[in-house]
Subunit: 463 residues, 2 copies
Amino acid sequence: MPSNVSVDDVLAAVDADLDQSLERLFAFLRIPSISTDSAYRGDCRRAAEWLAEDAASIGFEASARATPGHPVVVGKQAGASSRSALFYGHYDVQPVDPLNLWTHDPFDPKLIEIEKGRKAIAARGACDDKGQVMTFIEACRAWKKAAGELPVGVTLLVEGEEESGSINLPAFLKDNRKELKTDVALVCDTGMWDGRTPAITTSLRGMLYEEVIIRAANRDLHSGIYGGAAQNPIHILSRICGSLHDAKGKVRVPHFYDGVKNLPKSLLADLAKLKLTEKQFLGPIGLKKSAGEKGRLLIEQVSTRPTCDVNGIWGGYTGEGTKTVIAGEARAKISFRLVGDQDPAAIQKNFRAFVKKQVPSDCSVEFIGYKGSRAVQLPYDSPDLLKTRAALTKEWGKKAVMVGSGGSIPIVGDFKRTLGLDSLLVGFGLDDDRVHSPNEKYDLSSFHKGIRSWVRILGALAE
Amino acid sequence: MPSNVSVDDVLAAVDADLDQSLERLFAFLRIPSISTDSAYRGDCRRAAEWLAEDAASIGFEASARATPGHPVVVGKQAGASSRSALFYGHYDVQPVDPLNLWTHDPFDPKLIEIEKGRKAIAARGACDDKGQVMTFIEACRAWKKAAGELPVGVTLLVEGEEESGSINLPAFLKDNRKELKTDVALVCDTGMWDGRTPAITTSLRGMLYEEVIIRAANRDLHSGIYGGAAQNPIHILSRICGSLHDAKGKVRVPHFYDGVKNLPKSLLADLAKLKLTEKQFLGPIGLKKSAGEKGRLLIEQVSTRPTCDVNGIWGGYTGEGTKTVIAGEARAKISFRLVGDQDPAAIQKNFRAFVKKQVPSDCSVEFIGYKGSRAVQLPYDSPDLLKTRAALTKEWGKKAVMVGSGGSIPIVGDFKRTLGLDSLLVGFGLDDDRVHSPNEKYDLSSFHKGIRSWVRILGALAE
């Protein structure tokens, strides 16, 4: 901790600079850095360069480093103490389709009032993850401004391929192992428990993502001529997708639950105390009853239990009006969220066999395997975890909760494997942020108090 | 039947006049009467006028009648008997693109040898439908030449909009109901069973076409946050589409088979004798085994049995790469081919109830109903059908088969509804005629024996 400066001084600097902080975030949000669509390749590069420049402006030795895909921004700066942290986030964003559902241009950020007294930043990436990344950068800026230096050494690592599977980051970590080695990783890509209760994510679900292509006839057919005899690949694919779950919501792929443990009773009791109800969780999205595994708490279903979802399906005629076609092929994108010791490679094998069994002998199936990652679990007694929890509790005036995240941040596993780092997952997203959907937003309080939270955490880690 | 003239005399006249018959057809084929392209509007008119003049030259009171679109050629001529027939065909042709795939000018007809001893007329419209129309006109010409009169009264009705949906013909039928009323309709726009086996199409499948929209959450969701709890509309829709057929290929919508009768045993035996194999029918499209109803002949499955096909399905992310979204809605287009007395309105009602039953209470379903039409079925004991069958059998030396068409020819329904006429669908096209494709042709034997077939049918109808 730099001498002669209190955390309160730094927090005052945050408050005084908030309008400028917002302007910088807006500039960042205006760059449409959609990583999954090659048309936006140049924009991804621009976003990386913008961020490297901004980091350099507050003392980081920073640059956008080339990879076989989109660049990785790396920045290094020493701190007042010998302790150091690696900060991870991503500058790429999700696609914006369907564009017609947006009430405003996704890349023209605006401060909007979503209810009386509640302001939010509206834009693609406002929360996921540009807004979250900037909470940390702005916290560093405030430390520099108020104290002249950071309390701990910081290495920034902000990638541009998180939304497309972080394909090149594991190799980048390996190639730059020494440079990236610190004492702990800080990851800002998660959410709070609710608008007033901060959270630290202590487990993350893993992921397996597969595309399935069913092929039948060698061309599209007229259903008047072939209907009643020709295999219809949409029927085959529908049967497969419809067979993924049993009537109790369990995934039917053989051996899928190998490596899944029940939670310790004490943790299960903590989770039960949060009293997450269907009305509270599903009501805002227009649903009433959980479709998940019977006999499990709702919070278990969405955070500590494995799942399977068909994320996309398409085949045949999808235009206006009618066309009596029998398609030659049909496709689906299917993902699995993994927990505990589930092995993505084994599940991929069992899933593919499960699908193949349902494909008639004169039809064929092709698989495109995108990504497999195991689940991650943080030790509950880590000193940095306890410091961070205390800092968050002080900022928000409410005890920070430790939760499991339903989502995957595969790179957290790589931090452990490649760099030997535990990750503290602290983020300020809210359930109604509509990340990955039209009209994404980030509460102004998430942004403002998020910056203040990082100011406190950086200070605490130095102690 | 005119006195003192045998059918053999008329057939001899056909044979003697074949070269001139071809020349007349070639003149007709040289007019590029493409109805879907307004650039050819004048050519459509020319084709109509050419045909009206040619019909007038053999005693028809004929003219090209104006419609809001292309003209309809109507010609009337009394016959030796009091019986009368309405002949339907069309003078318009399909577009010719891609022109570079033609080995010759589509509007410069030629007689070519396609294999040793097998000659064919090569041109756009050679088969569909100018060649077929001229088989009937030339048969009338031969009767006039040999006997001085037609054996039955004939009303010609040759339209110019079949390839663009016969938009104006239903109203034309209504407006000219009295003039067009005869005892039976003869339609020449279908094919033979094979190059040696004549066919009469005795049934046409009807159609019900529905779009199903399943809605779950009020927006797209992140599967990491909601996966395991939120209803996924793709799962719901997949289960519905996957439940449309049972393991034996039967449609599972309740009461779907109401009004479907088994074929008469003799007809079934006739169809069995055709020995349509999976290899022959499915081989060319890359398939091996029929997906249709178990225990039915392949030819039944595609012509006289009702079917259901999902013609299109879509929902969620269908772009490049991965997106871990749970969609807010998913859609499918589903069509049913109907036979016998199946009632499209009843099936629509039962189908919608069948779908609704599978939609969870907090999700919703919307239906878009496109169209419903009943099947057309000619009574198997119709005297005109039996006469026509005998005449074809005599000409070709092989028993004419009675087949069902898997597709629909909507105007046939209008003949029944508006004019009260059953239709005898007799045509001489072959599977390799490439109608609607480059290098359309019509076998010389189809043309020559087609004319002879109509000579015999006209004679038989008078009896």
